[in-house]
Amino acid sequence: MPEFELMELLDVGMKETKSAVALISEATSPPCQSARSLLERKVENEHLSGHLPTHLKGLDETLCGGIPFGVLTELVGPPGIGKSQFCMKLALSASFPAAYGGLDGRVVYIDVESKFSSRRVIEMGLESFPEVFHLKGMAQEMAGRILVLRPTSLANFTESIQELKDSILQNQVKLLVIDSMTALLSGENKQGAQRQHQLGWHISFLKSLAEFSRIPIVVTNQVRSQNRDETSQYSFQAKLKDGLQEHTKTYDSHLVAALGINWAHAVTIRLVLEAKSGQRIIKIAKSPMSPPLAFPFHITSAGISLLSDKGTELKGPGINTIHARGHSDMINFHGECS
């Protein structure tokens, strides 16, 4: 409120208003920390300095350890590419005891489209961590730590996460997976601005949830085709006409991530899973601490594994475009896939 209005309202002089505003501001301001203390706190308190390993060596190295705590990580890609598989593997990895690189905690898995398969999770566990899983009762214990929720509507989901916020620490929840965010929102009937507003609320809520409980939140997103009238240019770019820039629109199944640009700004890490000429690729499309690398991968009974730990660096718009060419042949892996 501007100071003059405050003065009118409270009927006090200018000096008092100024000092009141200053005091309130100081009290309401967030505390100051030096970046160094942030780093030290992370290293001391958090498992592996605040990262959840994905057990994909190349990816973990580039992400400085794995999926970071306290922020939103997004997995986006066309249907059937392996997003849910990735999530299931992560959930498993988080439930493991610390000795095996896990977080030794519970996982809340919000499964909107019923893609979670316990059988598959146990299969992944047996194949990738046989030493652990063959121990008696381990499989039961690990699977027992993964709590699966199937919300019937967005309102249902909203309620559940609000409940979760209060109980997250006491219940040792160490990872939250939302598969998929797009499906949750597409079920609603609201249009345009209202929808953005809803999404906006969820974005703020999830981010603050991640930060205060210092857990990683992994969200999957779907793709949609780019509209004809959509552009990625600013008004001044038309004037610049940079010589060779006659970028023809490539029409090879040009896909973009759903949920809009606001969402794209809000996620801290964006991992794109795509298919190019029959090869599946996972690429780091947005990460403040990694270069944009792409790794080829495939899905086996042990889950996702990288075919090469040395990623290829991407340039330019290739980072953000999502390809789905040559993809339909790959869908029928083991008769089930997601």
Binding site: D11, P30, P68, D229, H265, P288
Partner: protein
């Protein structure tokens, strides 16, 4: 000047006016005890009023130092000031060139772009570069990093700090060989120590912090850059009343400008993008609306041009519109390898 313009509480003002003191000259010609008696207020209040009245009327008289209006400076003096203004390097010489040497202190610069283009990277780079000691051509100052969306990754800041120290050590090695310069004292952890990090979680916290910055910076005078990453986030979703939002934002911009001028520091505001329907098609534009776009002195837009990242000076009082390319490496912001032909002028 009229009495009702004085910054007083409404009841006191009401009493003044009903007692017949409608103009400043009438107030300044009486003593405080007379004023107190006439207007039915206490002596202290009367004294305050007289002080205020004298301040306001004093400012409109001719000032002996040659300026017609109090506080005005002539353009020649300002030229000298502008030229000796320190600037913060971005570690990318092409970018520094189009910026006239770097991000200028005493100014508010807005930098916007699509997700993933490097806004946070520039923010972190600047908060490290402001600490480059004077012997190396830097400002030797500290940084305030206001994080509204949790994008500050401290591991990345460490990477950039380490690279900066390495570069300085290389330079020192050279200087030491030829000019007997001193050894570099700075370590990467020290650089992190000098970044004051604030995590803002709502727009009320953001407003409160901006108000509080004046006091904070007075106590920490070597802060030379304030980076807000991003100013948009909390204002995009939580505000229902757009009119109020515009007003709050423009006040915030003014406060930042005051801070920049008062403490001679650079304020860098990072902004997000949105799509706007203009001239018959959808285009990208920086968020927060048209009125916000008037609030900042300087504006830089980061965008993709083919395979490269570019920065474009969209708005500046003294620099021509130009664009330059840059890359983001593991060591921070640097020139792109194909930089030979990249600086394009409009």
């Amino acid at each position: 000047m009229e009495a009702w313009r004085l910054p007083l509480s409404s009841s006191i003002r009401g009493k003044l006016i009903s007692a017949g003191y409608t103009s400043l000259s009438s107030i300044s010609s009486v003593s405080s005890s007379d004023l107190a008696r006439d207007a039915n207020i206490t002596e202290d209040e009367a004294f305050e009023i007289l002080k205020l009245a004298n301040q306001s009327s004093g400012s409109s008289s001719y000032n002996g130092s040659g300026s017609l209006i109090n506080g005005a400076k002539n353009a020649w003096d300002m030229l000298h000031e502008e030229e000796s203004l320190p600037r913060i390097t971005t570690s990318c010489s092409d970018l520094d060139n189009i910026l006239g040497g770097g991000i200028s202190c005493r100014d508010v610069t807005e930098i916007g772009g699509v997700p993933g283009i490097g806004k946070t990277q520039i923010g972190i780079q600047l908060s490290v570069n402001v600490q480059i000691p004077r012997e190396f051509g830097g400002l030797g100052g500290k940084a305030i990093y206001i994080d509204t969306e949790g994008s500050f990754m401290v591991e990345r800041a460490l990477q950039i700090a380490e690279a900066c120290v390495e570069d300085m050590e290389e330079y020192t090695g050279y200087m030491h060989k030829h000019f007997k310069a001193n050894q570099l004292q700075m370590k990467p952890k020290d650089i992190l120590e000098n970044i004051f990090y604030f995590r803002v979680c709502s727009y009320t916290e953001q407003i409160a912090l901006v108000n509080h910055l004046d006091k904070f910076i007075s106590e920490n005078k070597d802060v030379k850059v304030v980076i807000v990453d991003s100013i948009t986030f909390h204002f995009r979703q939580d505000f229902d009343d757009l009119v109020q939002r515009t007003r709050v934002l423009s006040e915030m911009a003014l406060k930042f400008m005051k801070l920049a001028k008062k403490f001679s520091l650079a304020v860098v505001l990072l902004n997000q993008v949105t799509t706007k329907y203009t001239e018959g098609s959808f285009q990208l534009a920086l968020a927060l609306g048209d009125s916000w776009s008037h609030s900042c002195t300087n504006r830089v837009i980061l965008y993709w041009n083919g395979d490269e990242r570019y920065a474009y000076i969209d708005k500046s009082p003294s620099l021509p519109s130009a664009s330059a390319s840059y890359t983001v490496t593991s060591r921070g912001l640097r020139n792109s390898s194909s930089s030979s032909k990249r600086v394009k002028m409009m």
